[in-house]
């Protein structure tokens, strides 16, 4: 094997694999520290996630959210941008979905109502991300700081709206009235019997189909269209993109807008698919989780779907762990996300010098 091929293998496979393994190993060590047998824990976790119908439903329900936010983070990464504002965009996306439902004629056909609401979620999420994009492109503010601020702004805005404006009359809970049922996205357990498959009740709804469609569309967009080409060129080598006549400003705006629109779809899965009203904090953790998903999935839609499934499994299985061990909760998934971001992101090249020295040393060549 030539040195280039070896390096390609190191960068493309060995390094990511070792990083993920390190994150797993660190989690296992944590389990040992808190007196939980990691193998037992893994078994329980897998049972919780896949052992029974309802568990499977929940697993895929959570996976759906992670696919949306993972894709959102990835598309920004491809443009060389770090969208840390997935939390706020998901939250505001949910607002958009709900407002469309409330604005439209309640007896409208679901065939119109649901697409309109999906559009509302994407529009609101997109605008919430495009504003920081605009500020970076035209005013030079740093997108990371601005998106963080927009996360907090989203949170305070939503509290205000849910307490003062949208709250169901006569109720104390800060949440909106129930959506009319023509805006309910069908549950998978209601749809499958039509195909002769029975499934236990779970929050899993048709958003998962939307998520998979989005994964394919993102792949198509990034690798099969001229706009995707322009985005990837900008992210890889900004001066070559300028050489090619690609406008940096436009790319920042477009990439952020798409990113926010994808994050906004979390609102569809959560609100149109399950809660059927606008509630508080349905989005918590998915925006940040998307960063881990994108890093682990190497910013490729296929990898993201796999990584999202992993995190969905951990999320649902984590709940099962909590029954078995009183000292574990779903927060173990948050720990794991942190470790994945640390080892697959910040410490991405930790092993590289060592691997290169070992597997692909520089040979002395006479110049």
């Amino acid at each position: 094997m030539s040195r280039d091929t070896r390096l390609a293998w190191i960068n493309g496979l060995l390094l990511p694999l070792m990083n993920i393994l390190t994150a797993f190993a660190a989690t296992a060590i944590l389990f040992l520290l808190i007196n939980v047998n990691p193998i037992e824990a893994a078994k329980t976790l897998l049972y919780g996630a896949f052992g029974y119908g309802e568990g499977i439903g929940y697993t895929f329900y959570y996976t759906t959210n992670f696919i949306f936010t993972g894709l959102a983070v990835a598309i920004a990464f491809h443009a060389g941008l770090f969208n840390i504002g997935g939390e706020g965009q998901a939250y505001i996306g949910g607002l958009g979905a709900g407002l469309v439902v409330f604005m439209l004629f309640p007896g409208l056909s679901p065939w119109l109502m649901i697409p309109a609401s999906i559009f509302g979620a994407m529009l609101f999420g997109g605008i919430w991300a495009m504003a920081p994009g605009y500020l970076q492109a035209y005013r030079g503010s740093h997108i990371v700081i601005t998106t963080i601020m927009f996360n907090f702004l989203a949170a305070t805005l939503m509290v205000y709206l849910l307490v003062k404006v949208l709250r169901e009359p006569g109720k104390m809970t800060p949440q909106s009235v129930l959506f009319p049922d023509n805006a309910w996205l069908p549950f998978v357990h209601d749809v499958l019997p039509a195909f002769g498959i029975e499934m236990e009740r779970s929050p899993l709804n048709l958003s998962i189909v939307l998520a998979l469609v989005m994964a394919v569309l993102v792949w198509f967009f990034l690798w099969q269209t001229r706009w995707g080409y322009a985005i990837r060129a900008t992210g890889r080598n900004a001066s070559a993109a300028v050489y090619a006549g690609i406008s940096q400003k436009k790319i920042i705006m477009v990439a952020m807008c798409i990113s926010g629109a994808l994050a906004g779809l979390v609102g569809i899965n959560e609100l149109l698919g399950y809660h059927h009203r606008i509630i508080m904090n349905f989005h918590i953790g998915y925006g940040f989780g998307g960063i881990a998903v994108a890093l682990m999935g190497r910013n490729h839609p296929f990898g993201i779907v796999i990584a999202a499934l992993l995190f969905g499994t951990l999320y649902q299985g984590g709940a099962e762990l909590a029954f078995e061990w009183s000292n574990i909760s779903r927060d173990i998934v948050v720990v794991m996300q942190g470790l994945v971001i640390l080892f697959c992101g910040a410490l991405e090249y930790m092993y590289k010098p060592w691997l290169v020295r070992w597997l692909a040393p520089v040979k002395e060549v006479q110049a």
Partner: protein, 520 residues
């Protein structure tokens, strides 16, 4: 007189780049020693090694007859070496005093060293004529004054040997004269000066001895009084294997590219292009000669639309562009401009992309590649394969990562991309830089084919041979200006070398006359 610096067999690599090859150097104490060579010849690397900033892979360093093994710059400073870098190592929002003190504060508290530093700096300023307001912030000072601060910094830290890397590159002629006066004062006080430059006039004007570097190696050491500018120019550029290209006789057609009164200023406010006027006809190659860094890159970038027009006018095949039209590279391409950039890794291709993807850089919007919203991979790959076959790119694997092709094959792919699109005007920067000899001939032939096909070609190269063998007419650039124009019949290496180096001083009346004489 004894030696201040003695380097033996210095060798340094950066990955695959062999920056210094077995370099020897001797500098006498109290002399002004010039080191000349083109950009990338390894001069700065060599001096950074002497300054302890990089470690040599092999070789010995002796300073004042003492063998030194520098771990960092601190040790080099301690032994009396000071360096003024090409890009100043100054903190813009610090005062002059703070900048000078950095690394030599004289105690944990600034107050302790501050008064001492102030007195000492005032003394140095008097002695060497280095006047500068110690409490001014760097960003408020002119480039010339900033350079004085750099010199003060070195002297304050007790430099007996002062290395200056391209010190005049950013100076006006007047500031340059001031600097040379400072040199004289320093020499008077026994300071040894090493002057790195590619400007031959300066070497002749101020140095006692000169060493010439080419491609990482020392090619000559001579006493200044025994050499001439043309001899140095020849040593610097070197002689490549002369490849025979035969130019067919073509009658130039209409003017395809016309540039009128183009000026351009960089972000630091330095004028990089000064009143550029030129035109190129169909079937003509205009060579732009000059030592690199004299405005050629900026000319290419403004013409190609990468940098916006600030002042002046560009006409491409009758379409005129001024500051009012916001040009970008995409728009210029649409009007028939193609551009082979000087640095293929930085601009010409995206090294992480596949060859097929790099082969459509700038042309990704082409209707024939797109089917509605779909940028069709089979069409993209077919385009790349066609280009590869037309230009004999090897391996002809369209999916291979761009980074994994050799330099020559990368360059051929870029040339293919830009040429096969049949542009009206082709801008080419350094077409054979880092390209193996076999590919050079091929590339030269293709450039002449473009000429034969009635295109206008602007060829920027630091290889004089290349310019001479391909061009119909030649312009020489120096310090952002066109300092000479000539038809190929009137051109020879010596006269071009003089223009490249000498013509800088436009205020020199003798020079101005000579320039008039060769106006094409």
């Amino acid at each position: 007189m004894s030696l201040a610096i003695e380097l033996e067999n210095i060798d340094k690599r950066f990955g695959a780049v062999h920056a210094n090859v077995n370099v020897d150097l001797q500098v006498r104490e109290g002399s002004i020693h010039g080191i000349v060579g083109e950009n990338g010849a390894g001069k700065s690397t060599l001096m950074s090694i002497l300054y302890g900033f990089y470690h040599a892979d092999a070789g010995t360093i002796k300073v004042f007859d003492k063998e030194c093994h520098f771990q960092d710059s601190h040790q080099a400073i301690a032994i009396g070496i000071g360096m003024v870098h090409q890009h100043f190592m100054l903190i813009d929002n610090f005062t002059v005093l703070e900048n000078v003190m950095l690394g030599a504060e004289g105690g944990y508290l600034l107050a302790e060293g501050m008064d001492k530093a102030r007195t000492e700096l005032q003394r140095l300023a008097r002695e060497y004529g280095l006047d500068v307001d110690l409490d001014a912030t760097i960003e408020s000072l002119s480039v010339g004054l900033q350079q004085r601060v750099e010199i003060l910094k070195a002297l304050y830290k007790g430099a007996k040997i002062l290395i200056l890397d391209e010190p005049t590159g950013v100076l006006t002629p007047q500031e340059t004269d001031e600097l040379f006066k400072i040199f004289a004062a320093l020499k008077e006080q026994g300071v040894t000066i090493v002057l790195i430059t590619h400007k031959l006039r300066e070497i002749m004007a101020v140095t006692d001895a000169v060493s010439v570097m080419r491609q990482g190696a020392m090619v000559a050491h001579v006493a200044t009084e025994t050499t001439s500018e043309s001899q140095l120019a020849e040593l610097m550029v070197g002689r490549k294997v002369l490849l025979d290209v035969t130019k067919s006789d073509i009658k130039p057609g209409e003017v395809l590219l016309k540039v009128k009164q183009l000026n351009w200023q960089d972000q630091h406010g330095v004028m990089r292009l000064k009143n550029i006027n030129l035109d190129i006809r169909a079937g003509e190659v205009l060579g732009v000669a000059g030592v690199s860094g004299n405005g050629q890159s900026e000319l290419l970038q403004v013409l190609s639309g990468i940098n916006p027009i600030q002042d002046g006018c560009i006409e491409v095949h009758g379409n005129s562009f001024t500051v009012k039209q916001q040009t970008n590279a995409g728009k210029m391409r649409e009007f028939g401009m193609a551009h082979v950039p000087e640095d293929r890794h930085k601009m010409g291709m995206i090294t992480e992309f596949s060859a097929a993807e790099s082969a459509i850089l700038g042309y990704h919007k082409d209707a024939e590649l797109n089917n509605g919203i779909w940028l069709k991979p089979d069409l993209v790959e077919k385009r790349c394969l066609d280009l590869m076959q037309a230009f004999d790119v090897r391996p002809n694997d369209v999916k291979l990562k761009s980074a994994n092709f050799s330099g020559g094959n990368q360059q051929k792919l870029i040339l293919a991309r830009e040429m096969e699109h049949q542009p009206e005007v082709l801008l080419i920067g350094q077409p054979t830089r880092g390209v193996d000899v076999g590919a050079i001939e091929f590339i030269h032939q293709r450039i002449l084919d473009m000429r034969g096909a009635g295109k206008a070609v602007l060829l920027v190269s630091v290889e004089l041979e290349e310019i001479l063998s391909l061009s119909d007419r030649i312009i020489v650039m120096c310090d952002g200006e066109i300092t000479g124009r000539m038809a190929i019949e009137d051109a020879d290496e010596r006269s071009i070398g003089m223009l490249m180096a000498n013509a800088q001083q436009a205020h020199d009346p003798l020079q101005a006359n000579e320039k008039q004489g060769v106006q094409a």
